[in-house]
């Protein structure tokens, strides 16, 4: 799976970082940065939680 953040939507709410700190980091610019663009399957549940929790629905998971 591949993680994509729409930076046009992201406003640094940082819930992704709380759900999956291995995969997301929110920096001083109030934008999420993807640390692991292709996280392992072991992280799937956490990443899916981040997708659901994002207040602006700015995160997408692409399979493959």
């Amino acid at each position: 799976m591949r993680v994509i953040v729409d930076l046009d939507l992201c406003e640094g709410n940082a819930l992704c970082m709380k759900a999956a700190p291995e995969v997301f980091e929110v920096g001083d610019d109030d934008r999420a940065r993807v640390l692991l663009e292709r996280p392992s399957e072991a992280l799937r549940a956490k990443v899916e939680l981040a997708v659901r929790r994002c207040p602006r629905q700015a995160i997408r998971l692409v399979e493959g």
Binding site: D8, L9, E11, D30, Q57
Partner: protein, 421 residues
């Protein structure tokens, strides 16, 4: 209200009077969630709409602004207004974030969003604590027992002071801003609505606000300060100044939505704590619980009850066929009691976690001020929990006649607070 024997098509989830007299129609929504979660409503006096009452469905609609636009009918109002002129639905008097769509919505939102990120809001904490302390000091007086209207004299003040300071509006203008705001959200309330026969009479508060904004904008263009009004006064879009109508709409939105909704959350939170004394005691024993209590209060009170979208193409939702042009009303307060999402949804629990409520919406239009609202609530209820000696209702709670943004209008209380140290 017992609605178990009323036919589904006669359930009232929209008239302002029902909200004013009975509060939010939770019994009706509970039936709709169970029996017809995507329900075609044709109440007398309203253009028909789909009532969306499930959490998952509101998320699905909100995440697709291209398929469900906000421009057009974004709030449900009665079709035939009791005064002359076009209805609020046909001809909205403002063009602001809540009735714009991307890409325009994003351009306008970015003009101010930097002021409302978690980091930006966290810098306001100390000032907010000061404002709140001052307010409680005055209310406490010598620590004796006093009475007041909690809505007007307490809940309205703290968020109002914060947003007016952010906008650079001086304190002597507070009463003006409060009145304008009450007339705006109370447009259907017999006590708050303005007198008059024409639309211009009823919406006269917009003219007053516009005149005041024009003054502020001129001043901030000549002498910019470190405030949000200066940011707006000097903002450009694509190298051009922001058109006046849209500029006013955005300024007005920040001003009124920036505090009224939080006032309703604080008021609704107090009512919840009075009705759940065990939760109030939990909070008094452990004020740290405000961290989770803030979101539980927003879930419980859901000050923004609904927004409406318009389908841009045919769309199937839970087997129902929504047609292009249909209105889709998102009832956030219903989603916030959804049995499939919340354990024991009708229990108010200050330590509820996780709490994926939709009180701030979700997606493109997620509440710009959500972090400020949370901070307002946390600071407010922490200080209340630390200083409260006793509190009880002195008379019944009165509710605003409104199905858009609503909540308690009057909460007469008898109280004792620890006096200033």
């Amino acid at each position: 209200m017992d609605v178990s024997s009323i036919p589904l098509d006669q359930l009232d989830v929209i008239t302002a009077k029902t909200y004013g007299e009975h509060g939010y129609p939770h019994e009706a929504w509970t039936r709709l969630r169970r029996e017809s979660p995507v329900h075609w409503c044709q109440p007398p006096g309203y253009r028909p709409f789909w009532a969306i009452t499930k959490h998952a469905d509101i998320v699905e609609v909100s995440s697709q602004p291209d398929k469900f636009r906000s421009a057009g009918r974004f709030i449900l109002f009665p079709e035939a207004a009791s005064y002359g002129g076009p209805s609020l639905e046909e001809d909205p008097p403002l063009r602001m974030l809540v009735n714009m769509d991307p890409p325009e919505h994003r351009d306008y939102r970015k003009l101010v969003s930097g002021w409302f990120t978690p980091r930006a809001v966290s810098r306001l904490k100390e000032r907010l604590e000061e404002i709140t302390r001052e307010m409680f000091d005055e209310l406490a007086r010598d620590g004796g027992e006093y009475e007041c209207d909690f809505v007007r004299e307490v809940a309205a003040l703290q968020p109002l002071r914060m947003i007016t300071e952010m906008l650079g509006i001086p304190r002597e203008k507070e009463d003006f801003v409060l009145r304008i705001t009450n007339e705006n959200f109370g447009v259907e309330d017999p006590e708050f609505q303005r007198e008059g026969d024409t639309r211009d009479d009823r919406l006269g508060f917009l003219q007053e606000a516009f005149a005041y904004m024009t003054e502020i904008m001129a001043d901030r263009r000549a002498n910019p300060r470190q405030d949000l009004s200066s940011v707006l006064a000097n903002a450009t879009l694509g190298g051009q100044p922001v058109p006046e109508f849209e500029l006013f709409s955005l300024w007005f939105l920040v001003m009124v939505a920036g505090h009224d909704t939080t006032r309703n959350a604080i008021s609704g939170g107090l009512v919840a704590l009075l009705e759940h004394r065990d939760e109030l005691e939990k909070l008094r024993r452990n004020p740290e619980l405000v961290e989770t209590a803030a979101d539980e209060i927003v879930r419980w009170a859901t000050p923004v009850n609904h927004f409406s979208r318009t389908a841009t193409a045919d769309y199937e939702l839970r087997g129902r066929k929504i047609k292009a042009g249909d209105s889709v009303a998102l009832f956030y307060a219903s989603a916030n009691r959804d049995e499939e999402v919340f354990e024991d949804p009708f229990r108010f629990r200050v330590d509820r976690e996780p709490n994926p409520h939709l009180g701030f919406g979700i997606g493109e239009h997620f509440c710009l001020g959500a972090h400020l609202a949370r901070l307002d609530l946390r600071v407010f209820f922490r200080q209340l929990a630390e200083r409260l000696e006793s509190i009880e209702l002195a008379a019944p709670v009165q509710r605003l006649h409104a199905s858009f943004v609503g909540g308690p209008k009057q909460i007469p209380i008898r109280y004792r607070l620890k006096p200033a140290r």
